[in-house]
């Protein structure tokens, strides 16, 4: 047998590995790269027609927000941008009928930029913006890349702000190639395995079904998304006791928070990003309420004992400084004592009960 064939035979041993990686990546597809946005479009259409929707956990919530915005015909008076920590803010809870909550899980500054861009492009900017500011958003190494679903809008916002990262939206050919290369990506494989493990631990909450449906009630066994964008948590989560929340908060404080990894200080370019966002709102005459969602007292105490985790402190002082500079309202604090909330107000380490969250934000609204 000649050397060429021999070499090819050895390299062919890699084929089963590549096939296995591609099979897992394309079937689990945690970032929804290989399936079309049909599910998000369907959920957005249901929400736009005033329905409560179940099964949205299977959706890419960035894309969902994009399609909801595209389905809108008029701007909301109040728009909420933030992470899962602000998802429970509702029109009913805040007594603001024209409120829409566009929060997305694990939100970063890029998400806020992209979503604002979508609303700006459609001339749907609100009069008031409630902006949940999470400390990890200031970590350049937070490893959160959900915003890539809205990359073109984020880049357009950067361009609008005149920043160096203002590249044009990727060409379709390159984005398709990039997407296909993810089929063989080890990083994407790790994300797929994590997703599989997550699905296994949350079996039965509808995520596995890969479909969305009209929910008959406002609250049920599973999470429900409302037409105002807010969420009702799953029954098992919303009815948990303070003791359970406390135990989770202590456990959370003792483990390392992935998105805080490698943080040493807020980098100047990240401060600039945040300031660009606020300057944009000011230029558009948007009244901004900056919300610092508190952490559970046990978690916050744990953070204080961890010298490596000073992110919260830095992020809060930066946000307060900029709020003063732009004359924007600021409510809450990462410190629960300053925010005026107690252990009973939490569902876990970092999520407030809806009534507590709405109460906190009400303080900043006329």
């Amino acid at each position: 047998m000649d050397s060429g064939r021999n070499i090819a035979r050895v390299f062919a041993l890699a084929i089963p590995v590549l096939v296995a990686i591609a099979a897992v990546n394309m079937s689990v597809d945690p970032a929804h790269l290989f399936r079309g946005p049909a599910l998000e479009k369907e959920a957005a259409a249901l929400l736009a027609t005033g329905n409560n929707v179940g099964g949205v956990g299977a959706c890419d919530d960035r894309l969902l927000q994009r399609y909801v915005a595209e389905a809108r015909t008029e701007a909301p008076q109040t728009l909420v941008l933030g992470s899962s920590r602000t998802l429970c803010l509702s029109a009913k809870g805040l007594e603001l009928p024209s409120l829409y909550n566009a929060s997305v899980t694990e939100a970063t500054l890029e998400d806020h930029e992209a979503l604002l861009e979508i609303y700006a492009e459609r001339d749907l900017l609100p009069k008031r913006l409630i902006l949940g500011v999470d400390p990890w958003a200031f970590n350049a190494d937070n490893g959160l890349d959900g915003w890539l679903s809205l990359e073109q809008f984020q880049k357009a916002f950067s361009s609008r702000a005149g920043r160096a990262d203002n590249g044009r939206p990727s060409r379709d050919l390159f984005s398709s190639l990039g997407r296909m290369s993810q089929a063989f990506s080890p990083s994407y494989l790790q994300a797929s395995l994590e997703e599989l493990s997550h699905r296994a631990s949350s079996k039965g909450d509808g995520r596995n079904q890969g479909e969305v449906w009209v929910a008959e009630t406002e609250e049920g066994e599973e999470p429900i998304r409302h037409p105002d964008g807010s969420i009702s948590y799953a029954k098992s989560f919303r009815e948990r006791s303070s003791a359970t929340a406390r135990a989770e908060a202590i456990a959370y404080a003792s483990k390392f928070e992935k998105s805080f990894r490698l943080f040493s200080l807020v980098r100047p370019e990240w401060m600039q990003r945040f300031e660009d966002l606020l300057a944009f709102c000011r230029d558009q005459d948007i009244e901004v309420v900056l919300l610092l969602c508190p952490y559970h007292p046990q978690t916050f105490a744990g953070f204080l004992e961890s010298p490596g985790l000073r992110m919260g402190e830095d992020a809060e002082s930066l946000t307060r400084r900029l709020a003063a500079r732009y004359d924007f309202t600021i409510v809450g604090s990462y410190d629960p004592t300053i925010a005026g909330v107690g252990e009973d107000d939490f569902l876990d380490a970092l999520h407030l009960r809806p009534e507590a969250a709405n109460r906190l934000v009400s303080q900043g609204i006329d």
């Binding site: 050397s3 060429g4 021999n6 070499i7 090819a8 050895v10 390299f11 041993l13 590995v17 990686i21 490893g143 290369s181 063989f184 990506s185 080890p186 990083s187 494989l189 790790q190 395995l193 003792s254 483990k255 390392f256 805080f260 990894r261 490698l262 040493s264 004992e305 961890s306 010298p307 490596g308 985790l309 000073r310």
Partner: protein, 494 residues
Amino acid sequence: MTFTSGTFLLFLPAVVLLAFRVPGRRRWIVLLAAGYLFYASLGIQYLLALLWVTGVVYVGGRLVAPSAPPTKREPGVSPAKKALLAVFVLLASAALLVLKYGGFIVSEIAELAGDLPVASDTGIYSLIAPVGLAFYTLKGAGYLIDVYRERTPCERHLGRLAVYVGFFPQLLSGPIERAGNFLPQLHRPAIFSSEAFRAGLGLMLLGYVKKLVVADQLAVLANTAFSEPQAFTGLPLVLATLAFTLQIYFDFSGYTDLAVGAGMLLGFKPVANFRRPYLARGLGDFWHRWHISLSTWFRDYLYFPLGGSRVGTLRHLANLNITFWASGLWHGAGLTFLAWGALHGLFLSVESLLAPFGVRLATRAFPEWVRRWSLAAGVLVTFVLVGLAWVLFRAESIGDAVYVYGHLLQGLELSAAAFSAALTALGLPSPLLGAVVLGVLVLLLADELREEHGGRPFVQLLPGKARLAVGYAAVAIVLVFGNFGANEFIYFQF
């Protein structure tokens, strides 16, 4: 494109297939094109430095080579050739001196000069310093000296010499292979050996496990502490120092395994660069085991020409220290690297002064167990000293290193709770640490077995199917536990 990028996993098989498909006399074309493509993928401007070094070394080699065989010329050194050698070694090193040390020298002068109008924008030098320049410059300079000393014949084929300087598996971080080993292999037709090929693949897999699973996870601990050491005292600093000590070994020996493995796939013989360095029984022994291709380079081209140890005690100590200062500066244009080299020079000076007492003690009739324990103590002391020296290597400034040294033992608490808290503060969850510790132990055992079997990976000793199973298991471990972030190999910076 680097060894850990997906593109490289497509690039390497293509080059290997081509290199064995073309006629032997044209193999250099494939290897040269591959080397330049690989290097250009990191920055097309980097090719300028590679071309410069190659051109200088080629012309210099032709000029310093003896003009006639020894039997047909007068004995003695030709002063003209010696001067030419000095000029061409300097020219070959010019890119390195300007691009790597220019900024450092200018900034130091500016600091010394105070308000004097010295150019202050030193950043430009570090911006364009090509990765791997320090490695292929040493290869080129070593080749010139070997040709001058007639230890290797002058390579008259520009293409083949260019392959030697720009051989892509060794381009970025060595090993710094001698021309006398490499060029004869390039002249011979490539003969495919499935055993060597499989060994090369096995070595590459081992390299990926070392780098992606172990080194990059240990990096989390070291990076957290060394990015802001003032935030820590006691146990976190001890753990971070230990983590970096292990990280740099697994990172660099992982890189070497990948480089040597890729070379073996292309039909080249392996080069030794590490031999269980953390089992060294003294500092001298450590330098016989760590980055062997670099330490032998400094030994042969600097330490020996200075007189080595065959001179008086003071001169010998001076030679040792000069060699290690140079080695420190070669690693980086900064005071921390210089201090690291100086510290090793000091350690070796002390060891060399104490050596006669050690020999005297060893010749006395001590029981076997005393000897055994003293050897173990030697290994431990060497490990601790080397680890402490790595603090200077990793710290971002001398001030940071001094802080770490001063606070390693402050408030040191050795309890399970303190250990867990330190790990949390440094950013590595305890369960992941368990996996990393297991990985460290398995890899150290693999090193041990490899040493026992004459440098062959132990997997090579298994029957075919078991070997395949171990290979697939290693791939699975890399895929599941590997850190695929953008952590470059540590030695790329040199």
